[in-house]
């Protein structure tokens, strides 16, 4: 029944949340000295399965063998005792505690921060991490936090490591650093599972891929025997083509003109310095940059949500007349057809109301249209049904509160609604953050459709490969400054990577 010399063997494990079947009779083997990529669409149960290994959830049925012995993992503590450590997608760190305190959290030994610091430094040296044990977590960048998470797992002596979307928020350089560390751990004989949606990373780092579809285990294959399209077909269950169809822009006219935009945030930190560019109709302007380099402020300034220190933002009408957007309130700006879909890091923070259902969330955009004091629910219900169908949103129904949907599905609801409002300008940030490859391409195609309709799209993205494939032009932001605007058809990835980090790239993290 169980595989020989596997570090972990999962057999027939199922887990349901209410009526939603997250995992159904899953079998999976994880070996030492190997990096396994766990693939699947959003909501296919990857994270749930791994959460059962790390003791967060308890399986409804099935067996788990660790090193050939059947074990019951009732709590995270049991998982630690078995050498299983998980780095969660949303970091599990206490902000006000230092790195060392976070790392030694939950252990039983007498609290001795000095000793812990020494051991942390040892681990860092061994694998090449860069962690200051005394630094408070709230002072850290995303990649530093992730490093702390990994050290935390190693500190507990874990030799089975699970990483849930570790690269989602890292720059290409940081990702490279992480992969070096993972390879070193692999050489050290550790078993590593990585969940990611970025297929080129799967090809680069993993030895084997295992695929889940709708909570069921489909199979596993050696990575070198597969290409991206085959893997995706396995995930989706039918063959898909992964091409972003990039038409040459037609009817290009300037639509949004930004001149010398300077923005300070609430704490008085300069987030944008003297930013100037033009967004054209029928064109996708990609915005690249390390997260926190002013992307959010830029979009919010255009949408009228962010007070501006100096500069101009003009909307250029079809007849060439200009209208300043600054000083207008968000409502009148959005009535002019400037639509923003911003997916913040916590997904539900802006744009959707977590406790409201899909239909009501659709209505947030249109609720002012109805006559009289009463709302008209019919159009929003219809729209909700359309969006659910068109974007393949996995949900028990349109009356389910949005917070119960998996992250990727939440995003589809948001993007679907923004596109449905028939915009003239579409501002999107991290539209595919956390989405699986198939849904990502659905979103890319939707954005492309908008472009072909003549919409001016500003697309803030994280994945440089996608930005290069999707955009017509790429603007690189670095520490709130524009460090370059390039033609996406000829631009070079490494060049963009350098532009992202030069010219005071860290200032954005102050």
């Amino acid at each position: 029944m169980k595989a020989e010399n596997a570090a972990v063997s999962i057999r027939g494990v199922s887990k349901a949340f209410g009526s939603v079947r997250a995992n159904h009779k899953v079998d999976l083997d994880i070996y030492r000295g190997e990096i396994l990529a766990l693939l699947g669409e959003n909501g296919s149960g990857k994270t749930t399965l791994m959460n059962m290994l790390s003791g967060i959830y308890f399986p409804d049925e099935g067996q788990i063998f660790i090193n050939g012995v059947e074990r019951v993992i009732r709590s995270p503590r049991d998982a630690h005792a078995l050498g299983i450590g998980m780095v969660h997608q949303h970091f599990k760190l206490v902000d006000v505690l230092s790195a060392a305190e976070n790392i030694s959290l939950g252990l039983h030994e007498r609290l001795n921060i000095r000793e812990a610091t020494e051991r942390i430094n040892e681990i860092c040296e061994k694998y090449g991490f860069d962690v200051d044990p005394r630094q408070k977590v709230y002072d850290m960048s995303v990649s530093q936090k992730q490093t702390v998470e990994i050290v935390k797992v190693l500190y507990r002596g874990a030799d089975i490591l699970i990483l849930d979307e570790p690269t989602a928020v890292l720059t290409p350089q940081e990702t490279e650093k992480l992969f070096d560390v993972l390879r070193r751990m692999k050489k050290d004989g550790k078993a590593i599972v990585i969940i990611t949606h970025k297929m080129h990373e799967v090809e680069e780092i993993s030895d084997r891929v295992a695929v889940l579809r709708a909570g069921e285990y489909i199979g596993s294959v050696d990575t070198r025997d597969m290409d991206v399209e085959q893997m995706t077909s396995m995930m989706v269950g039918h063959s898909v083509s992964l091409n972003i169809k990039r038409e040459d822009p037609v009817g290009v006219r300037p639509r949004i003109e930004v001149k010398g935009l300077t923005v300070r945030n609430d704490e008085g930190v300069l987030k944008l310095r003297d930013v100037s560019f033009t967004a054209n109709t029928g064109e996708i302007l990609g915005v690249a940059g390390i997260s926190g380099c002013g992307q959010k402020e830029l979009l919010e300034a255009i949408a009228g949500l962010q007070p501006v220190e100096s500069g101009e933002v003009n909307y250029i009408r079809d007849d060439g007349s200009r209208e300043p957007l600054l000083g207008k309130d968000p409502l009148s700006i959005s009535e002019m057809g400037v639509s923003m879909s911003f997916v913040p890091e916590d997904r539900l923070g802006m744009g959707l109301v977590a406790n409201m259902d899909i239909a009501d969330n659709m209505m947030l955009r249109t609720c002012r249209k109805g006559k009289g004091p009463f709302t008209d629910r019919k159009p929003s219900k219809k729209l909700a049904k359309e969006v659910v169908k068109k974007l393949d949103i996995v949900t028990p129904g349109i009356t389910t509160p949005v917070r119960r949907l998996s992250g990727g599905n939440v995003q589809k609801v948001l993007v679907g609604r923004e596109i449905a409002s028939d915009p003239k300008v579409l501002l999107t940030a991290y539209a595919v953050r956390g989405l699986d490859i198939n849904s990502s391409y659905t979103i890319y195609n939707l954005i492309n459709e908008q472009k072909e309709r003549g919409v001016a799209v500003i697309f803030v993205g994280e994945d440089l490969d996608v930005l290069l494939e999707l955009s017509d032009r790429i603007m690189v932001l670095c520490g709130g400054r524009v460090s370059g605007i390039l033609d996406a058809r000829t631009a070079d990835k490494n060049h963009i990577g350098r532009l992202m980090t030069t010219a005071g790239g860290r200032e954005g993290h102050e």
Partner: protein, 333 residues
Amino acid sequence: MLNFLLAFIPRAVVQGIPLLYGCTGEIITEKSGNLNLGIPGVMYVGAISGVIGAFFYERSFADTAAMNPALAILIPLLCCLLGSLLMGLLYSFLTVTLRANQNVVGLAMTTFGVGFGNFFGGSLIKLVDSDVPSIALTATSAFFSKKLPFAGSLGAIGDLFLSYGFMAYLSVAIALIASYVLNHTRTGLHLRAVGEDPYTADAVGISVSRYKYAATCIGCMIAGLGGLYYVMDYATGVWSNNAFGDRGWLAIALVIFTVWRPKLSIFASFLFGGLYILYLYIPTGMDHMELQELYKMIPYVVTLLVLVVTSIRSKKEDQPPASLGKAYFREER
């Protein structure tokens, strides 16, 4: 001036002790992420429980001189702890196990606690058939407020530092111990983690419910002692309904004032104790009694100022525990 201070400070201190108990208890509770607004009620229950214990022990003697000093202290003390513990268990069961709204439960418990105190206080008053609406447990109180024998012979130093009953020193000791445990032990680290981010704490194997239960119950027991101190020492053993007043709320305000630091709360509670009675020392004359009411506001105004200052500075360490007031459910998604 010096004489005024010498007279004022000990009075401020004895006013501050019940607040210190309440504040320390509430800090420990809040560090676990439980916002227990039931503290005023808990202090009432602690007080009346102690009074009931003392009442029956004292009544079992015809001659109070025959009372055993150890039992005279232990019985009210244990009754008080038991009463407050039950309140703590009730709060924890409702908010942690059943995940009820903490504010609602807390406010209900305050109403309940005050009513509970007044009901049994009134019953006891009926039992003794007294002319005045209060009961006096003078003999028990004598044991509680016993001063160090040489305190009187040390002049100003003795008055300032040694003129209090043992529970005053106990309150300071508890605050110091709480401060040490919170900041320098693993238990404290885990407790803070639970209050800041229970999901994280849970993921590293800390039992969130156990910490929440323990912190809330211990916090309630400490707060209950504040009620006991008030009756047995400050009020010289006299229980009358509603005499405890709004000290429980003041204790909760103190928690904010001290930005969740038990060590700071020692001085802060004496300061609040002073502010609480300041109106008695500012001559207003008979024409302007309304000014007194304004002076009584001072502790709350000071708390508001602290809130303003800490939120302007927005230093992470001075903020309330991040998950304060939220119920924890592991499989919430």
